[in-house]
Amino acid sequence: MPKDHGIGASTKRREDVRFLTGRGRYTDDINLPGQAHACFVRSQVAHGRLNGVNTDAAAGMPGVIRVFTAGDFERVGGLPCGWQVTDRFGAVMQEPGHPVLATGKVRHVGDPIALVVAETYDQARDAAEAVVVDIEELEPVLDMKAALAEGAPKVHDELTSNLCYDWGFVEENREAVNKAFETAHHVTTLDLVNQRLVPNAMEPRVAIGDYDFATDDSTLYTTSQNPHVIRLLMGAFVLGIPEHKLRVVAPDVGGGFGSKIFHYAEEAAVTFAARHLRRPVKWTCTRSESFVTDAQGRDHVTRIELALDAEGHFQAIRTETYANMGAYLSTFAPSIPTWLHGTLMAGNYRTPLIYVNVKAVFTNTVPVDAYRGAGRPEATFQLERVIDKAAREMGMDPVELRRKNFITQFPYATPVAVEYDTGDYNATMDKLLEIADVAGFEARLAESKARGKLRGLGVNCYIEACGIAPSHLVGQLGARAGLYESATVRVNATGGLVVMTGSHSHGQGHETSFAQVVADMIGIPDNMVEIVHGDTANTPMGMGTYGSRSLAVGGSAMVKATNKIIAKARKIAAHLMEASPEDIELKDGRFTVAGTDKSVAWGDVTLAAYVPHNYPLDEIEPGLEETAFYDPNNFTYPAGAYACEVEVDPETGKVTVERFAAADDFGNIVNPMIVDGQVHGGIAQGIGQALLETTTYDEYGQLLSGSYMDYAMPRASDVPFYAVDHSCQTPCTHNPLGVKGCGEAGAIGSPPAVVNAVVDALQRAGHSHITHIDMPLTPSRVWAAMQG
């Protein structure tokens, strides 16, 4: 019988009551007394020399309080980059400055030039239009390979070229890999593009700076996935405000998908302006601004080669990827195509030799950084596509080829520096074939044919490294931060608990699932536990939510803190019952002396902690509150197998996803319903990437797909009902909950399934020349491919 509370129960999300009834409190819902409004003057051109900014006319317009330009920020630091990659020759990456307001040059459409603060937003916007910007247009750098050509214009004049780094991984394997290719029985080569995506969180970014000159306290309200990280980056590196005088609040946040991890210029600008003006300053991003300022995702151009022996065993993998950084290094940008991408190139397979080369390139486009999956979708896509192509070339069944190469012994050290702790890839594949009803495919194919439609089946696997991340390891790899997580558990006198977590929920349902864990550990109802997050003033220092880390890392910190609480409560209970703490058992919210009928309730113990009349004050302190930090000693490795069935209209090239199945191994599951939802959303995003979403710049660097008139987001009618299963569970071996994380899997595993299915459909229809089509597989592209 399914559980109705605690770990394993599909408890309905308590936060949905406020989200679904319009009672959520988002950053834009916050309006402070005396608040002024900000509008940014932004570059309309992709690349240009900024010769002057004249604010005279704007400054005199109605309601204008102040127009800030780059000169005002001279004594302020630039936006820091949180990761330093070392290239294959041992040199550190080229790291250009990233000023809050563009200085000397503008480097992408949307680059902020000036900040107008006025009494109302409309006044600020009117005045922003009156700011006269003198820009001498320069030739933009857009194509990555052209950007690296001799004599190409430079995005950053102070750098030697547009190359951020040329990374080799594992560099020592390079020659051995090349040799393996020379002697291989078969080599499959695939050139592909993992296209740039615009994140498009439902809630656009908002930032409100506030300053109390009487106390010298600054506060930033912002749409962030990690308020502590913003506090550290903005306080220490940009504005020079010590952390104890700076509070960052990220209240309800309407989706992030990575784009709200990063520290953005607007956050620093409004905080700076508020201090200067001694007034709150609010900025709300328009959707049009989001398209040209939110850090974008993916944008890799890759050649992957797979060497196989005659039986189809993988011998070696070699990749060369060009990764677009955009105009500046966003907070974690350098790590995405390297440590979150190269380390996943083994996939679910035993491949003894792997060499990954990544050239990160500056261009006059919006900066690129983590977006749901972040590097791992790029790795999975190329690997799972090239395996499908190899199977076709070698006349092998694509599922059998995968099975033949599966890793089956754990732990498994890959040749790309990570060690998978556990997994069972045959189990998820077996489950997938069952829930996808692969056996029934031929009948469905015949039925499609009868209606004049092509049908195809695509199957693939994925693995990801989640639970980011062991601090000692990422420190060696260039991270300028630790990636632990924290929790404070505060028990109230009457037995209820408040858990303050450094994780941040922006759609993941932490308030529900985290409460289930703590309540389960004590044996009390879930509703006795409240989860608090999002405010640096009342939560311990934590690194936030991304990389499917919250339960694996944040949840583990919470378990540690709760165990400390239970240990102390057991001592109190022992005192109350005049027994030894070792003999005390906690079950269903009662402490019992083992082997006796003596017991006290949880609430009796918590009351004693706060009303310590009968209490061992000489041995233990009153009160019941504990903090724990947890730093994982490995990544977690969720993995699974996905299947997609598509129909293709042979006349128009239109692809429809008819069936989609996902068999995931997330280890232990706290709330199956929330996990289903995470997978559903991820698959929708992956189908969006595979079929719909395109970020297209014209030759001048203008974003052509800069609104929903041209940027196609997936809608309900674009996706089928999903068959989702997570009953295959190999619990993580190194965190206390045995959980692996589920937030990104859907977006990682689904794009290759869709593309594999479309190629399969076209191949079955006799288009044998079609071995790949770049995403998105729009009707126009599919039709063009069919024309040969």
């Binding site: 006349e651 239109k654 395109t694 052509l704 797909s705 041209d710 039709w783 063009a784």
Partner: protein
């Protein structure tokens, strides 16, 4: 948006007078104009709101059987009220945009704007409709003069659109995946004196009639009749959603499907 004066005339005469002012612009359902204003891409001094004019609203049947749609009639009303008289027109209206667009957007606004990807121009041209304004009657063949360009004079209000009802008709729209406007849309109508084929979404010149298909279908109203035809891609729109060649191809596919759907 920039500040503007909003005029709400009670009668058509008042509306005509108001539109005589400099920099005045008619506001129909506002489904294109309002987003344009919000993005500050237009700055009219005065907007003359036509949605309060009862005399421009509704669907009726003329003595000659034509379906007459008032210029300020929202798409949703046409979808409901024309269904019994001109099902293909009603179906087209019922599939424009989303419910919000269909309940605010008007036929007069759509035709006056003449977006090259809009549905209504295909229905009007494909039906050989008459666009009646405060001054005159304009045949659809004369009305559409290229992308966002029509025969309307400044301030000339569309009061009614008269659709002769064909024997058979159908509209096929292939949606642009983001905007859901027509990447290509084809309206086919069979009258006793011949077949009309109007194409939207495809051409740099806006909505147009495909004469070769009309000739072929007038002789043989079946999808097979156009099998040997092809369209020149030269004048077709090419953008990130489809090449000119793709659009030319789609015109033919959708024409065939429209003929089949018309039955």
């Amino acid at each position: 948006m920039y500040a503007f004066e909003l005029v709400r005339p009670a009668t058509l005469d008042e509306a005509v007078t108001a539109l005589g002012a400099e920099e005045a612009q008619a506001l129909g359902g506002g489904q294109t104009l309002i987003p344009t204003l919000k993005q500050r891409l237009a700055a009219p001094a005065k907007l003359v709101c036509l949605s309060g004019l009862a005399e421009l609203k509704g669907v009726c049947i003329a003595d000659d059987g034509a379906v007459c749609v008032g210029g300020a009639t929202p798409h949703a009303v046409v979808a409901a009220e024309a269904a019994a008289h001109y099902p293909a027109l009603a179906a087209l209206a019922g599939n424009i945009g989303d419910p919000a667009v269909r309940n605010r957007g008007t036929i007069g606004g759509s035709l006056a704007n003449n977006d090259p990807s809009a549905c209504y121009p295909a229905a009007a041209l494909g039906s050989g409709a008459t666009i009646r304004t405060v001054n005159r009657d304009i045949a659809a063949d004369d009305f559409f003069q290229g992308m966002f360009t029509t025969a309307l004079e400044d301030g000339e209000i569309i009061t009614e659109v008269r659709f002769p009802v064909p024997e058979r008709a159908a509209y096929q729209k292939f949606e642009q995946p983001a905007s859901r406007f027509a990447l290509v849309g084809v309206f086919v109508a069979k009258y006793d004196d011949g077949v009309r084929v109007a194409v939207t979404g495809a051409s740099e010149g806006g909505v147009f009639r495909w004469a070769e298909a009309e000739a072929a279908l007038s002789g043989d109203f079946s999808a097979g009749a156009i099998a040997g035809l092809s369209l020149d891609a030269d004048m077709m729109i090419g953008d990130l959603h489809g090449s000119p060649e793709y659009r030319a191809h789609l015109v033919k596919v959708l024409t065939g499907r429209a003929v089949t759907a018309a039955g």
